[in-house]
């Protein structure tokens, strides 16, 4: 074989290998679990500018459900990030923080300790192994985390994420092919919407202790060592939740560990009144706060952080516009919830003056209102098309076209999705900031 042929074969071999790599990288990006329980948080974390975060919240799902980064920003100018993982025990948080501190130098790390008190969650930690590790980049921390979080026979299969995620071809959707807009801006926050009414826990008087699992304690120690070696103060805290007596004893034990190591520990289960907690309206389930709860808690927590640590107020700083955007999105989501929970069309209209497109039919007359301004109108058998912020709409009145759809309807197409109602006096509400359809209402 002459030199030329060898060179051509070499180039062909390189092209084949590069193609294989492109396929692996490309498909893994598409197939990557888009989980709000750890993966999206880490993916978003990597997109934060270096040394821009002042407070990293670490721990379990309580972190990303309970700490409203938008509230911390709006009320105190704190640039915070919720780097939690579902039911993440201390060894998961240890590797999360080890990875996080490679690019960020926060003023304080706030570590949520409640999982230590929940035996079921700690012992089943590997149920969430993929969510808690696949968001991380391929490096030693990721491998070490998978190792420490897996049984011996699970380690190698988990190293290859394809073993878990290739089956997702059945569930692929738009978000898998584009960047995740919301999470990037939500700074890890993933709020819960529902309301779960429960009795206020009465564990305030419990002072006894009960040890947590040894492995949990070992990694709590490592977390403290990590904060010392990186010279970043760490604050332990327990979010308010439906804590049981036994869990309260373990929380006390974790508090005693923190005490012994000179680390501050705040158990917010002893501060319900200061926070203003109302367990009949503020919980999403027994373990997580909802919108009402996380607002109160984050506001209260923010004041403590401001008081205890020297955290700058970045509001107005042009390098921190993404936190502005984050808080805006959170405000709109709260507003959307209020719209959904309202029964009054006039109230709804007052809540949709900015950032919403409203499609209305009143007495046979159709109107499209964008940001409070009428942008299009139509009458009988109307068909209105409208485009704004990358979204396309078709709003029309029509007769049903099939046996299953034979009534006179009013229909709104938002991009490729159709929402329809029986013809009458109607409102269709679209949140053009979050790009979410909110609801329809007959009036």
């Amino acid at each position: 074989m002459d030199r030329n042929s060898k060179l051509i074969n070499f180039i062909k071999a390189v092209i084949i290998i590069v193609t294989a790599v492109i396929i692996v990288v490309g498909t893994s990006r598409i197939l990557l679990l888009k989980s709000e329980d750890g993966i999206n948080q880490f993916q978003a974390f990597y997109k934060q500018p270096e040394n821009s975060i002042d407070v990293i919240f670490s721990g379990s799902s309580k972190v990303y459900c309970d700490i409203a980064t938008g509230v911390l920003w709006d009320n105190y100018g704190i640039a915070a990030f919720d780097l939690g993982g579902a039911e993440a025990p201390s060894w998961v948080s240890y590797y999360h923080l080890k990875e996080a501190l490679k690019t960020q130098k926060p003023k304080v790390i706030c570590y949520e300790v409640s999982v230590s008190a929940m035996y079921d969650m700690v012992t089943q930690a590997n149920n969430w192994a993929s969510d808690n590790s696949y968001g991380m980049k391929w490096n030693k921390n990721r491998i070490d985390l998978i190792r420490v979080n897996s049984e011996e026979n699970e380690f190698y299969p988990r190293l290859n994420p394809y073993n878990i995620m290739h089956g997702r071809y059945k569930d692929l959707e738009e978000n898998d092919f584009i960047n995740i807009r919301d999470t990037v801006n939500y700074k890890g926050f993933d709020p819960r919407e529902n309301v779960y009414a429960m009795d206020t826990p009465e564990t305030g008087g419990i002072t006894e202790t009960e040890p947590c699992l040894e492995k949990e304690e070992e990694y709590i120690g490592k977390l403290i060592e990590l904060s010392e070696s990186e010279n970043v103060p760490i604050l332990f805290f327990a979010s308010p939740y439906g804590v049981s007596e036994q869990e309260q004893k373990i929380l006390n034990y974790v508090g005693s560990i923190a005490d012994a190591r000179g680390i501050e520990f705040i158990d917010f289960n002893r501060r319900y009144d200061e926070i203003g907690m109302d367990f009949s309206t503020d919980m999403a389930d027994t373990g997580h706060l909802n919108y009402n709860g996380n607002y109160k808690f984050s506001n209260y927590f923010g004041s403590i952080l401001k008081e205890k640590y020297d955290i700058p107020d970045h509001r107005g700083d042009t390098k921190y516009t993404s936190w502005d955007w984050d808080s805006t999105l959170q405000k709109y989501e709260r507003n959307d919830l209020n719209i959904i929970n309202s029964d009054n069309a006039m109230d709804i209209l007052s809540m949709t003056q900015t950032g919403y497109v409203v499609f209305a039919v009143n007495e046979g007359k159709a109107t499209v209102v964008d940001n409070g301004e009428v942008v299009a109108q139509g009458e009988e058998e109307f068909r209105i098309t409208y485009r704004v912020n990358g979204d396309s709409f078709v709003f029309e009145e029509r007769d049903g076209q099939s046996e299953d759809d034979r009534y006179h309807v009013c229909s709104l197409f938002v991009n490729d999705k159709e929402y329809k109602e029986l013809y009458g006096n109607l409102l269709f509400i679209y949140d053009s900031v979050r790009h979410e359809f909110v609801r329809t209402i007959n009036f």
């Binding site: 071999a13 193609t19 290739h166």
Partner: protein
């Protein structure tokens, strides 16, 4: 370690890199080390199991040293070695089956033949059966027989005998090779890296992975559902399951062979083909010449022909000539049918110690072939009387379909748990006539949804296209003639299909290779 695991392919890359760097003289030593390591992993890291395997090879190597013509003991030593091999194979593979037959026979005469020692032997051999014993014992038997017959030379070096027996691609499910096929390739020539050969080999590996992971495993979902619950999935479901199982087994076994032959080709060592588009056969004899070819060749060369050449059969042929007259071979060839009966019985038995195997892929196949032979004049008469055109594509299609149906029926017993289950299943096939299952979406509620069926149908269509092209030419030659971009596209499509649509990992219960258990 599974041959379709990521770990294996990473290791294989390293194996190749070292292999091509080494000088010719020691390349085989590297292959030996790798092969022993691979077999050790196949034996679940049992040192005792590995040592026992060494002992079997050592006995055969030692025996082969005494087969030269000048040795007066050569026949005794050959027979002793052969008996050792056959007993070893029988002990580990068929002791349970034999013990059950003895117990059942005892019951017929109301005698309890249960024996604790025998029971313990059965238990021990079942628990400690060396992996792939059905393959390497046949390779060894073929080897010592070839040496005894003078067709091959005896290897002086026991380590080389060990490599020939345990060459790692073979330690999955064959093919069953002869020393003649392997000698030069393993011990003679220097193997250099070749881009073309490497690409061709990997193309074949990808195609094998596609057949196994994309097609076979999906078919397995439907087949298992029907076979496991044939009492409720009755009527036409049974016919569907039997047909799909034939394709499942084909994709599973031939897929594995593609992987095995492909990785060996990358190393520059060509193994004999085990499949040649069998579903295009027009009769069952031809089918079996194109399905598991090396097993058929082994039985032909080392069982059928020796039987036919034996004294007893010579006498039988004489008897037939005297009593049935000249030309009896064309009318009723008893010696041929008897020798085939032995071969087919052994084929059935090789597949497993169970009457379902002996019947389904043994005696039933024999019966169809022999009756087909006997009825040839009747078929010819029908063709003549009805003026059937036998020179058209539809007639060929009919013959192929008939062959497939005959094969599928026998093979259905292979998949059944027992012979009784096999018959009960076919009884259930005639319990009711339920053609609506092809219209009411029943097949979408059996573990594969529409999307999964879509992938399966796409895979099957691709399989038929590739099989059709391979009738005319070598598919990889065909691909090679295309432009590099087209070749790259074929690679990319297969690669994406495998990593995305393949059955592996946490959410899929991918099974081992069916033929891997022998």
């Amino acid at each position: 370690m599974s041959i379709i695991s990521l770990q294996f392919f990473i290791l294989f890359f390293i194996i190749c890199a070292v292999f091509f760097i080494l000088p010719a003289k020691i390349q085989w030593i590297w292959l030996l080390i790798v092969s022993i390591g691979f077999y050790y992993s196949q034996m679940y890291y049992s040192i005792a199991g590995l040592l026992f395997f060494f002992l079997i090879v050592l006995v055969n190597w030692a025996g082969s040293q005494f087969f030269d013509d000048n040795n007066s003991l050569r026949k005794i030593i050959y027979n002793s070695t052969l008996i050792f091999d056959v007993i070893t194979l029988a002990l580990f593979k068929y002791s349970k089956f034999l013990y059950e037959i003895i117990l059942a026979a005892g019951k017929l005469f109301k005698a309890d033949l249960t024996n604790e020692i025998c029971g313990n032997i059965v238990y021990y051999t079942q628990e400690n059966c060396p992996e792939r014993i059905s393959y390497f014992m046949l390779i060894l038997i073929a080897y010592i027989t070839d040496v005894y017959w003078g067709k091959s030379r005896a290897l002086k070096n026991p380590a080389k005998t060990l490599l020939f027996t345990s060459y790692f691609p073979l330690m999955t499910s064959g093919p069953i090779v002869t020393f003649e096929q392997m000698e030069n390739q393993l011990f003679g020539e220097k193997h250099h890296f070749s881009y073309d050969r490497c690409v061709r080999g990997m193309e074949r590996v990808l195609w094998g992975l596609f057949k196994k992971m994309v097609i076979s495993e999906r078919l397995a979902v439907i087949v298992s559902r029907i076979y496991d619950y044939y009492e409720v999935y009755n009527g036409l479901y049974i016919f569907v399951a039997a047909a799909l199982f034939a394709f499942q087994l084909y994709c599973d076994f031939s897929g594995l062979m593609d992987i095995v032959l492909g990785i060996s080709e990358v190393l520059g060592i060509y193994l004999p083909e085990n499949f040649n588009t069998p579903f295009y056969s027009v009769n069952l004899s031809e089918f079996w010449r194109r399905w598991h070819i090396t097993l058929g060749a082994f039985l032909r060369d080392y069982v059928l022909y020796p039987i036919q050449r034996s004294k007893g059969f010579k006498n039988l042929r004489k008897w037939c000539k005297n009593h049935l007259g000249k030309g009896y071979e064309k009318r009723f060839n008893i010696p041929l049918y008897l020798s085939l009966l032995v071969s087919w019985f052994l084929i059935g038995l090789w597949h497993g110690g169970g009457w379902n195997y002996i019947f389904g892929v043994g005696l039933y196949m024999w019966a169809v072939i022999v009756f087909g032979e006997l009825l040839t004049p009747v078929f010819a008469w029908i063709v003549r009387v009805l003026h059937i055109n036998t020179e058209c594509a539809t007639y060929t299609f009919f013959l192929r379909l008939r062959t497939f149906i005959l094969f599928m029926f026998g093979l259905s017993f292979f998949r059944a748990k027992t012979l009784k289950d096999g018959f009960l299943m076919w009884k259930s096939a005639f319990y009711r006539f339920n053609p609506w299952i092809f219209f009411d979406e029943s097949f979408f509620n059996m573990g594969l949804d529409r999307r999964e069926w879509g992938i399966l149908v796409f895979g099957m269509i691709l399989l038929f296209i590739v099989s059709y092209i391979s009738q005319k030419c070598d598919v990889r030659d065909f691909i090679k003639k295309q432009n590099f971009v087209a070749r790259l596209a074929v690679f990319a499509v297969l690669f994406v299909m495998i990593i995305v649509y393949g059955y592996y990992g946490a959410d899929f219960n991918a099974a081992d290779f069916i033929y891997g258990r022998f």
